[in-house]
Symmetry: C2
DNA sequence: CTTAGTGCAAAACATTTGCAAACCA
DNA sequence: TGGTTTGCAAATGTTTTGCACTAAG
């Protein structure tokens, strides 16, 4: 059993949520696809192929709860749906996303490098930053060369 | 007539779009509210109050066209709709947004400060950045003190 | 047992589209 | 005048909700 799974079960209990087969199954799909960014519908389709009889409403309700508990983070790629990814429990902030405008691929980068910006924002605007969402648009290595 | 209005009319013509009353009215609303971030529905309601008989479909079609011509930029605040703001024609990139998680206010900041990050991304990932969307979440000056 | 959680179908919501009428160039 | 653009209403696609049933603790 992975560290994430243990964490998941304990935190559910601590938050007075029941551990159901559906919640477990949805978390499994998220962990199996942790490098991807899945929509509710994509998760639903994967669950359907596995012949769990989980309904789409449960997927939405579960993802919403997972987000509240910070098990997942949402990313909005402006493609008409919200996408989810298991959180990096070690990370303090969310990671950045590199979005290629040619092939649509998405790379995650851990590195932060926003200290300078956040300090400036505090000094000049009096705004205290606790989290950030950074999307960088451009061309990936392959598309730039090709 | 403001610089933006001139720019708007000329660019419409150059792109082979007609200057209609509706497009003018929508641009007016956007310019009058340039510090805000309006949704299609909010723009539609403002237009309705002004007794232009503009339909919601026209608002969507126009905003979509305005975005293609870079007259407006979208921002997604994860509140169920896409929001729009007139572009800063001087700016090379989009400005950053400071989003207060207590009162929901949004401050725009022009300053970039992403050169270090973007250089690092190029060096380490071979990714060429052309634009970015940065949202910083936290507490504004008022809410932090209060 | 008891109440949270589920599946289903219907509803809600933002957005898009087809089409006949209206309008800009 | 002719091709764009528009308003309307219907359609779409995602997400939410009401409700009776099921299952975790």
């Amino acid at each position: 059993m992975s560290k994430k799974t243990i964490n998941f079960k304990e935190q559910l209990k601590n938050s007075n949520y029941k551990l159901t087969g559906q919640r477990q199954a949805i978390m499994d799909v998220l962990i199996e696809n942790s490098s991807k960014h899945l929509s509710a519908d994509e998760i639903y389709k994967i669950l359907s192929e596995k012949n769990t009889g989980i309904g789409i409403a449960t997927v939405y309700r579960t993802l919403s709860m997972f987000e509240k508990l910070k098990f997942v983070t949402r990313i909005n790629l402006d493609d008409g749906c919200i996408r989810y990814q298991v959180s990096d429990f070690q990370a303090e902030h969310e990671h950045h996303h590199l979005i290629c405008e040619s092939c649509g691929c998405i790379q995650d980068i851990k590195d932060d490098q926003l200290e300078v910006l956040e300090k400036k924002v505090l000094a000049e605007n009096g705004f205290h930053v606790y989290n950030h969402k950074v999307k960088l648009y451009g061309l990936c290595n392959k598309c730039y060369k090709g």
